[in-house]
């Protein structure tokens, strides 16, 4: 296992300690719990708090989006594992500024069940009003009839951005929830894997792929995709990722935000090669790219591969997308 680490068991606590040491003015622990990280200025009084949670190993997802204009906090799990109810509860409490808290996270069983427990606890013990929105944007994971079953991948970043901007406008919990739902109703993703990653405590690759194989539609923890086959060209790969998105959400005549995301090892160069195909391809279908986001936004450690995420825009989504946001991992001014 070729990783820069000390002990697999210390992977997450050490990275979290490093993160807090690096960004002391921006981030802090909630109630002394290392796995519950919130904005240094949390709670922001009168503002809806927004938290997420999920396994480690996906930086900048999840806690890289904790900051002004995005998330107020994040419950952190072990690598690819859900945080506990207690960690979620502490995070919730630490960001509660009196206007309620939105739980906004990916549709994974452990997270769903634990966030439900944390919401019960926060409502019961502290009278905090909780709203829950699940991210389920990966079109490869279920057909439209079972869209609610889909897993949540990089689309969550657009949801964080939109909901965060709406909360910054001091909107009510219901309105922030509605903004997150509105963003997600217009967001779809799909990915491809070229190579696996290793969970430190497991010590072997999450899956194996032949030397010239790829898997279209694979999930960010190595969940099986829709098709395994010979490695194709960048243009063919890009088309096989965008077409299912277009089929699921007609885009002709629309403006979109397009995210071309590396899963980790795949370099930026290859993302731009994909973009070079996608821009004219979408234009020919009457789709205008309002803003491209090209980089590493949601990764699986050193996994090789890429994903596309599309958010279809209207005036409200554009306004909220372009609002300022600043975290130690993401500053929206870079994309303007």
């Amino acid at each position: 296992m070729k990783k820069i680490l000390n002990d697999p068991k210390h992977y997450v606590p050490e990275l979290l300690k490093g993160l807090l040491a690096a960004h002391p003015g921006r981030l802090k622990m909630a109630d002394g719990e290392l796995y519950a990280i919130v904005r240094a200025d949390a709670p922001v009084q009168g503002k809806v708090g927004i938290i997420t949670g999920g396994g480690s190993g996906h930086l900048p997802v999840f806690l890289g989006y904790v900051g002004r204009g995005m998330l107020d906090g994040c419950a952190v799990g072990d690598v690819f594992a859900s945080p506990t109810i207690d960690q979620m509860y502490k995070t919730t409490k630490a960001v509660s500024g009196g206007a309620g808290v939105l739980h906004l996270f990916g549709n994974y069983g452990g997270d769903v069940m634990n966030f439900a427990g944390a919401a019960d606890l926060a409502a019961m013990e502290d009278d905090i009003e909780i709203a829950t929105v699940l991210v389920a944007d990966d079109v490869a994971s279920a057909p439209p009839e079972r869209a609610k079953n889909r897993r949540g991948v990089a689309g969550m970043i657009f949801a964080f951005k939109i909901a965060g901007a709406r909360a910054d406008e001091m909107a009510s919990l219901a309105d922030v929830k509605a903004a997150a739902e509105h963003a997600l109703a217009n967001t779809r993703s799909m990915g491809v894997a070229l190579g696996p990653c290793i969970v430190p405590q497991v010590g072997k690759p999450t899956f194996t792929l032949g030397d010239d194989e790829m898997e279209i539609g694979m999930g960010i923890h190595g969940e099986q995709g829709v098709r395994r086959g010979t490695l194709q060209t960048a243009d063919e790969i890009a088309q096989q990722l965008i077409d299912p998105i277009l089929a699921d959400m007609p885009l002709a005549g629309s403006e979109i935000a397009l995210m071309v995301n590396s899963l980790g090892a795949t370099p930026l160069e290859e993302l731009y090669i994909m973009y070079n195909y996608l821009a004219p391809y979408l234009e020919a279908k009457g789709v205008r790219i309002y803003r491209p986001y090209i980089g590493r936004f949601a990764t699986s450690m050193e996994m090789a591969g890429a994903s596309l995420t599309v958010m279809k825009l209207d005036d409200e989504l554009k306004r909220l997308l372009d609002a300022p946001a600043s975290t130690p991992f993401f500053d929206h001014s870079q994309y303007l």
Binding site: F80, A81, G110, N114, N149, R151, Q201
Partner: protein, 213 residues
């Protein structure tokens, strides 16, 4: 004479089950790698290690009430193994414990009742139905098998019956298509594979039978 289980016997039984589950975790990892994300072995290791710690020196160790002891084991499991199986299994032990609360000893029918209470709690918490290809499909037939046992049946025979029914249930999941959780993302390709959570249930009952003999 009716068969019963005391608080200490239950604690010893749980510890034995936990040991076996930790030892046999790799089988679950393999099954979960096929159908899910391959972490079920890690989840059971973490969860059952937490139970062993709770029973040895944690808050369950000093708990005289058998129901509360089981409840605390469930909480420890969920805290340390917060995946789907961990959250659900934790809740199952907690709810099962609530059903046994205040008892000095449990008879076979109490045990079956506790497992049934746990099953109902899981269905509510996780939103799955029988036939959705989950651990429910192993727990449900196990309860049926428990109910057929005579009140004086030896504990070993009682759990063996449960284990056999659970294993049959787990095997039957091979014919099902996943409707919920991570495995549902495989759609039709999930057919033919055994549900790892169901297999874990069968393994737990088999371990209980071994440690009751």
């Amino acid at each position: 004479m009716t068969t019963t289980l005391t608080r200490d016997a239950l604690a010893a039984l749980l510890d034995g089950v936990a040991q076996d589950m930790i030892r046999d975790k790799d089988e679950l990892t393999t099954l979960d790698a096929e159908l899910g994300d391959g972490d079920l072995g890690r989840t059971t290791e973490w969860g059952f290690t937490a139970i062993r710690e709770a029973l040895a020196s944690g808050d369950a160790a000093s708990e005289p009430d058998m129901g509360k002891m089981l409840f605390k084991c469930g909480k420890a499991f969920a805290d340390k193994a917060p995946s789907s199986f961990g959250a659900l299994m934790g809740a199952a032990f907690m709810k099962g414990g609530m059903a046994l609360k205040g008892k000095n000893e449990a008879n076979l029918s109490d045990i079956a009742d506790a497992v049934e209470t746990a099953l109902n709690a899981l269905m509510e918490r996780g939103g799955a139905k029988l036939g959705d290809k989950t651990m429910l499909d192993a727990m449900h037939p196990a309860i049926g098998a428990m109910r057929t046992q005579d009140a004086a049946a030896p504990l070993g025979a009682f759990f063996t019956a449960a284990a056999e029914a659970a294993q049959a249930g787990a095997l039957a999941t091979q014919g099902m298509q996943s409707q919920i959780g991570r495995a549902s993302w495989q759609g039709e390709r999930s057919a033919g594979k055994m549900d790892p959570g169901a297999r874990a249930i069968a393994m737990m009952f088999a371990a209980a039978a071994r440690h009751s003999a």
